[in-house]
Every structure is written in structure tokens, then in C-alpha cells.
């Protein structure tokens, strides 16, 4: 055998191996396998959304998974922290290629769409298990946790966390401005902002974002305060209604009187927070203790109780419930549910150690000193966790179109246009039209 022939033979073998290995790598993860016992060996792929500061969350989540695999030695886990940027396409691509993870957390708005696509597996056995165990956990959940994402009677996701949207303010500046009582209504809040503006003309009275997805949350913050939503309960668009117009007109008033910055339409949430954190604003909307934790005046930061709009009997915080679910392409549905059950039962340390952006739905967790000894956390608990409306309220059930409504930011578009000077009626009409178009697509 000549040297050249040997080289050619080796190359041929290598090429064949490369081809075969490529083919092997591209083998799909597989369709739904047979239901297996949670005690049988399994390798789970878990996705966890980026809920907190990168490394901190990674370490805390790894600790949670280690505990899970320690208690379930037959299960091995591979995990990935998924960034919010591009999450929609990441999930949709995974679902359509049947390579979605065995379990994942995600935004609540994702659940309706994935459930409609038949991409989620039932979590009913978890509830049945807790009932069979007479597990007190069922009494420890805040409302909606086990019922929010039920479709045709089947539970598709559990609510593990809440991300309520509130306004936070600088107590010291507000007192110096002569605001003697906590504003409760839109009118009182406008008066407080006027006093702040008069006392501190160089500061933005209320820092607010209207550029990124936060514009939707800011719109919902003022709609929930007036006990209304962007849809009616019958799922017809509602932004032109009297109640929604009262909220949108209030935003217009804030803009016209310079109580929010003229540049609000271009602000992302991190920018409005930055203005507040660099001592440039007195109130900030849609921020959180996690984001403000490092500021030197943190002890002066206070949560404003939800305002009560003119048509509301009681104002509420707007909540963004977040979910944990399992995909139906999993080969190990029982093990995936075992993980979700474990997560719901044991995530207290993870919440604390990860710098998590959510508030837990386990009420007993709030007795832990981490929350109990923090005035701002307890204000969140009192004002928002115990008094909120999910952002799709008053529609009773999560519907698939909400993910598109959220993604296209058509609700928040109304706010953005108003803070660019547009009349609230026109802005609402345009958003209502866009919302109706999305709803029609799904019907």
C-alpha cells in the first residue's frame, strides 16, 4: 500500500465518519415517548428565563437543580438560561422543530399560545399528587396559581411568580416638596407631581418608559388603577371606553404639564430607571427593588399604593404573572412534572439567592427575613401581591392572541403616541384597530 493510497483511505474514512456523525447529531430529540415513571432514568433539558443578574442567577439555579438531582438520582439535568431578547423566536422555533425543552419558565402570555398549539403537557397530575399527599402547599399559594392557565379543564402551567407593576418614589424629596399625604387618586397624584416640579424644576417628576415593552406595562398600570383593561370581558377592544379614556387622558395630562419628560417616547425601562437612580427623577414607574438595590438612597425609596382612577371603586396594581410549564415533545413527562413540582415546593432559596425579578406565589415565603425585614418588599406584598389584576384582565382566561398583542406592543402604542402629543381618542382608536386585527387573525 503506497503512502498516497493510505492518505486517500484515511481521508475517505474520516469523511465517512464526519458524514455519519453529522447525521447522528441531526437526529431529532424524538416525539412523545411512552409515559415513564418518575423513578426511571431520564435526562431532562430545563430552560430557565433570565430573571436575575447573570452569574448570580446561574449559581442559584444550579444549586436548585443539584438539590433536585440529589433527591432524584435517576434524573440528570442539563439547563440553559434563556435571554429575553429574542425569546419569542427561540421558543417558537423550538416548538415547531419539536426540540423544546422538557420544562421551562416563561412569561404568562406565552402559555395561551403554546397551549393552543398543543405544545404543553398537562400539569394536572401535580395537583392530584398534592391533593393525594394532603400537601398544605395548596393553601400556601396566592390566588390564581393553580387555575390561571387551565384550558378545557386541563391545567397547562403553574404560576410560580408575580411581577407587579407599581410606582416607586423618593420619600425625602416628596416631603421636601410639601406633599403631606400619599396620593390616592389621579388628581391627588397630579397635584403631588406639580408640587415636586415646582420644588425641583431640574428633576423629572415621574420617570416613565414608552419605548420598549414597558410601555404596555405603563399603560396597564394606569388602566388597572381605573379597574379597566384593554379588552372587555367579551374580548372586544376597550381603549376607547370611558374608563380607559380617563386613564389615557391622565397620561396626556402628565405629558402636557411636563410632569413626565418630553423624551418619554424614546425611553427604555433601563433609561427611566437610570434617570431615577442618578437622582434625576422623584417618581419612577415600573421599576423594582432589584433594579434599585444599589442606589445610595434606597432607604428613601417607597412604593406608591395603587392609585384609584375616577371610575374605580378601588385601584389595583397591574400584574404580570409568570409561569412554569412542560412541553409535550418531552420523552419524560413524569420526570418533567416531578421537576416542576419540586420547583414549586423548593424555590425559596432560589428566589432569594438569584436576585430574582419575580415575587414568589408561595405566601409563606414572605415570612422569611429576606422579605419580612425589607420595607419595600413588604410594601410590594401589601400593595401589589395582595391587590393586583393580571394584565389581561377582565378577560377570564388567557387567550393565544395575547402573546402577539404583547409582542407587537399595540396596547403600549397608545401610550407612546400620547407622549408624542397625539390625542388619546385617536391613539386609542388606532390601538383598538390593531388589537382587533390580531384577534381576528386568531379567530
Amino acid at each position: 500500500m503506497t503512502k498516497k493510497t493510505m492518505k486517500q483511505g484515511t481521508a475517505l474514512i474520516l469523511a465517512t465518519l464526519l458524514f455519519v456523525s453529522t447525521a447522528a447529531c441531526s437526529k431529532p430529540k424524538g416525539a412523545t415517548g411512552g409515559v415513564q415513571s418518575a423513578s426511571e432514568p431520564a435526562k431532562l433539558l430545563i430552560w430557565e428565563m433570565n430573571w436575575g443578574p447573570g452569574e448570580k442567577q446561574e449559581t442559584a439555579f444550579k444549586k436548585l437543580l443539584d438539590k433536585f438531582t440529589g433527591e432524584n438520582p435517576n434524573i440528570t439535568v442539563e439547563h440553559q438560561i434563556i435571554p429575553w431578547a429574542g425569546y419569542y423566536d427561540i421558543f417558537m422555533t423550538a416548538i415547531n422543530s419539536r426540540t423544546a425543552p422538557d420544562a421551562s419558565t416563561g412569561g404568562g402570555a406565552q402559555v395561551g399560545l403554546y397551549a393552543k398549539m398543543g405544545a404543553l403537557t398537562s400539569l394536572e397530575p401535580i395537583i392530584d399528587g398534592w391533593k393525594a399527599e394532603k400537601n398544605p402547599i395548596l393553601d400556601d399559594f396566592s390566588p390564581m396559581v393553580t387555575d390561571l392557565w387551565r384550558y378545557d379543564g386541563d391545567l397547562k402551567a403553574l404560576m410560580f411568580g408575580s411581577d407587579p407593576k407599581v410606582i416607586i418614589y423618593r420619600k425625602d424629596y416628596v416631603e421636601q416638596a410639601g406633599v403631606t399625604s400619599v396620593p390616592k387618586t389621579f388628581g391627588e397624584f397630579a397635584d403631588a407631581l406639580r408640587k415636586v416640579k415646582a420644588k425641583f424644576p431640574d428633576k423629572v417628576p415621574l420617570a416613565m418608559a414608552a419605548s420598549d415593552s414597558t410601555r404596555t406595562h405603563n399603560t396597564m398600570l394606569f388602566l388597572a388603577a381605573n379597574e379597566t383593561g384593554f379588552l372587555k370581558a367579551d374580548m372586544s377592544p376597550n381603549l376607547q371606553s370611558k374608563e380607559a379614556q380617563e386613564s389615557l387622558n391622565f397620561i396626556k395630562l402628565l405629558y402636557d404639564e411636563g410632569l413626565i419628560s418630553k423624551g418619554t417616547a424614546g425611553y427604555t425601562n433601563s433609561e427611566s430607571e437610570r434617570i431615577f437612580m442618578t437622582d434625576g427623577a422623584v417618581y419612577v414607574s415600573c421599576s423594582s427593588p432589584g433594579a434599585l438595590g444599589g442606589v445610595p438612597f434606597f432607604d428613601q425609596c417607597v412604593v406608591l399604593p395603587p392609585l384609584t382612577g375616577p371610575s374605580a371603586t378601588k385601584g389595583h396594581a397591574s400584574n404580570t404573572p409568570n409561569a412554569i410549564f412542560s412541553f409535550s415533545n418531552t420523552k419524560y413527562p413524569d420526570q418533567a412534572r416531578a421537576y416542576i413540582k419540586f420547583f414549586m415546593e423548593n424555590s425559596k432559596d432560589y428566589f432569594i439567592e438569584s436576585g430574582h425579578g419575580n415575587y414568589p406565589t408561595r405566601l409563606s415565603y414572605y415570612k422569611d427575613p429576606y422579605w419580612a425585614n425589607s420595607p419595600m418588599h413588604m410594601q410590594y406584598f401589601e400593595y401589589a401581591i395582595n391587590n393586583n389584576l393580571p394584565w389581561w384582565w377582565p378577560v377570564p382566561e388567557m387567550y393565544p392572541a395575547i402573546l402577539n398583542i404583547s409582542g407587537e406592543r399595540v396596547v403600549g402604542d397608545a401610550l407612546q403616541k400620547i407622549v408624542m402629543g397625539m390625542d388619546p381618542i385617536k391613539a386609542a382608536a388606532e390601538s383598538d384597530k390593531a388589537i382587533q386585527e390580531i384577534l381576528t387573525t386568531y379567530n
Binding site: 486517500q8 481521508a11 475517505l12 469523511a15 464526519l18 458524514f19 453529522t22 419569542y88 423566536d89 417558537m92 416548538i95 415547531n96 399560545l113 393552543k116 398549539m117 423629572v204 414608552a210 419605548s211 420598549d212 419628560s261 418630553k262 423624551g263 418619554t264 417616547a265 424614546g266 425611553y267 427604555t268 433609561e271 437610570r274 434617570i275 442618578t278 434625576g280 393565544p400 402577539n404 409582542g407 407587537e408 402604542d413 407612546q416 403616541k417 407622549v419 408624542m420 390580531i438 387573525t441 386568531y442
Partner: protein
């Protein structure tokens, strides 16, 4: 002769076998998505409702080119953005290339500094510009107000018209270093004797620029302009990271519209139609580029 033929045939076969994995990979990751995208543009595929998938012929194209006002508006700005960014990038790149071409101390340092906009990560650049352009805490407005150039802060990213100029300016900022480097290479390839002869004949800077420099870098300029046209027309991240296409969708360009249509609106087929349209435009740019490249090679 009779013994060499089979060996040649074997060698040829081996060549095919050796290149087969690469060809397969190329077909899989490049040709298949392209063909699939074109096929999708003739369907009504929505990943949420896969069962309703059907062939719709030219319906998507008819709608896109017929009565899609949003597409027309975005197309207009896409062209305006592309042409403006490329034109301003070229002018800036040319000026800086001329400066760097002349004798100067610390040329390497200047060249490195001027390359920074091109090498900095788009996400980092976007975050920094967001802060620099902020109307309340931004450095740019602070300088403008302090120097009394403006009386009120400029709403760079909140005013729809100003936002368009802002994204064009930042596109130019990111794009000019490439132009500069390519033009500089072109300038350095011009024989010095030509300038010396012209000088002897009494030609000044402007005359040399017009009759020596410009003609000598014409081909290289055309090539870098075409490349930049292709990249800018196809660019997504520069605008998306800065404005997300806003305010009020005033800075939407075709790649952002495609992304929104495909993913947020779940209209994969319609998004594919927009993408195929973009592909057609880019093919035209590419053909011009290849023609110029051929000319340059000759």
C-alpha cells in the same frame, strides 16, 4: 495511457466523496433555507395554525406590492436610510482616509481610534448611544444646552423625524471606518510619481484630487459602496437595538418589518415574501458589485 484513466476516474470520484460533506452542509444550511423561504412566500403558513397551511400562489406578492401601505412606507425609509448612510459614510471615510494618507505623527493611533465604531459590539454601542442621546441625562444634550446651541433638549429618539436622522447618523458612525480603510488602501496604491509629475506641472491639491486621486480610486470606491449598500440594506441590529423601530414605528426598515411580521405576527409566509423582495434587491446590488469587481480584476 490505458492504466492512467482508471486512476484519474478514481481520483475524481474520491474528490467528489471528499467534498460531499461540505457540499451537503452547504445545501443544508444555505440552499435549503433559501429555497424553503421562497416556497413559503407562495403559501399562507402560520406556525400557530399549521393545519391551515396552503399554497396561495402570488397572493402574498400581490398584497405586498399592491396595497400594503406599511410595506411601502417602510420600503421608502429603507432606501432613504441605506442611501444616506452609505453616502455619508463614504464622504466621511474619504475625508479621514485622505487625512491618514498624508504625513502625520501618531497615524497608527488615529487609525485605531477611527476604527473603534466599526469594531465595538452593536449592543454596546446602542446602549451607550441611548444614554448619550437622552434628553435629561445625556451628554450630547448637555453640551448643546451648555453652549446655548439649543434652548430645549433635542428629542433624538422620541421625535419621529429626528429619530430618522439619528439612526442615519449612527449608521454613518458605524459604517465610515470600513470605507476609510478601503479607500486608504486605494490611496496607498496610487504611484507617488503621478503626484510628483502633476506637482511639477503646477497642479495643486484640488487638481490632483480631481484628476489623479478620484479616478484612481474609482473602482475601489465603487466596490466598497456596493458592499456597504448590501450590508446597510440588510442591517437589522443597528436600528433595532437603538429604537426598536420606533417611536411609533418611524424607524422601521425592511429587516425589522420582516422580523415583526414573521415572529410577532406569526405570518411566516408574508415575512418570507418581504425577505424574498429584499433578496431581489440585494441580488441586483450583488450583480453590480460582481461586475465592478470583474472590472477591477481586469
Amino acid at each position: 495511457m490505458s492504466r492512467r484513466r482508471p486512476r484519474k476516474a478514481t481520483s475524481k470520484l474520491l474528490g467528489y466523496i471528499m467534498t460531499a460533506p461540505a457540499i451537503l452542509l452547504f445545501l443544508l444550511i444555505s440552499v435549503y433555507p433559501l429555497l424553503n423561504g421562497i416556497i413559503l412566500s407562495f403559501e399562507n403558513y402560520n406556525p400557530v395554525m399549521p393545519a391551515a397551511r396552503a399554497f396561495v400562489g402570488l397572493e402574498n406578492y400581490a398584497k405586498l406590492l399592491g396595497n400594503d401601505a406599511e410595506f411601502r412606507s417602510v420600503l421608502g425609509f429603507s432606501f432613504a436610510y441605506t442611501v444616506s448612510v452609505v453616502a455619508f459614510s463614504y464622504i466621511m471615510g474619504f475625508i479621514f482616509a485622505l487625512m491618514l494618507h498624508g504625513p502625520m505623527r501618531g497615524r497608527g493611533v488615529y487609525r485605531t481610534l477611527l476604527l473603534l465604531p466599526y469594531v465595538v459590539a452593536p449592543s454596546v454601542a446602542a446602549v451607550n448611544w441611548l444614554w448619550l442621546l437622552n434628553d435629561r441625562i445625556g451628554f450630547v444634550n448637555h453640551v448643546l444646552l451648555t453652549l446655548h446651541i439649543v434652548q430645549e433638549p433635542l428629542l433624538f429618539l422620541a421625535d419621529p423625524t429626528l429619530a430618522k436622522f439619528t439612526v442615519i447618523a449612527l449608521g454613518t458612525w458605524r459604517g465610515f471606518p470600513f470605507m476609510m480603510i478601503v479607500i486608504l488602501a486605494g490611496l496607498q496604491s496610487i504611484p507617488r510619481e503621478l503626484y510628483e509629475s502633476a506637482y511639477v506641472d503646477g497642479a495643486g491639491f484640488w487638481t490632483s484630487l480631481r484628476y489623479i486621486t478620484m479616478p484612481m480610486i474609482r473602482t475601489v470606491s465603487a466596490v466598497c459602496i456596493m458592499l456597504r449598500l448590501i450590508w446597510t440594506f440588510n442591517s437589522f441590529e443597528n436600528i433595532y437595538l437603538l429604537t426598536g423601530g420606533g417611536p411609533n414605528r418611524s424607524t422601521f426598515v425592511l429587516p425589522i418589518l420582516t422580523y415583526y411580521t414573521g415572529f410577532w405576527r406569526n405570518r411566516i409566509s408574508y415575512a418570507s415574501t418581504i425577505a424574498v423582495f429584499m433578496l431581489a434587491v440585494l441580488v441586483v446590488f450583488s450583480l453590480v458589485y460582481l461586475r465592478l469587481k470583474k472590472k477591477e480584476d481586469i
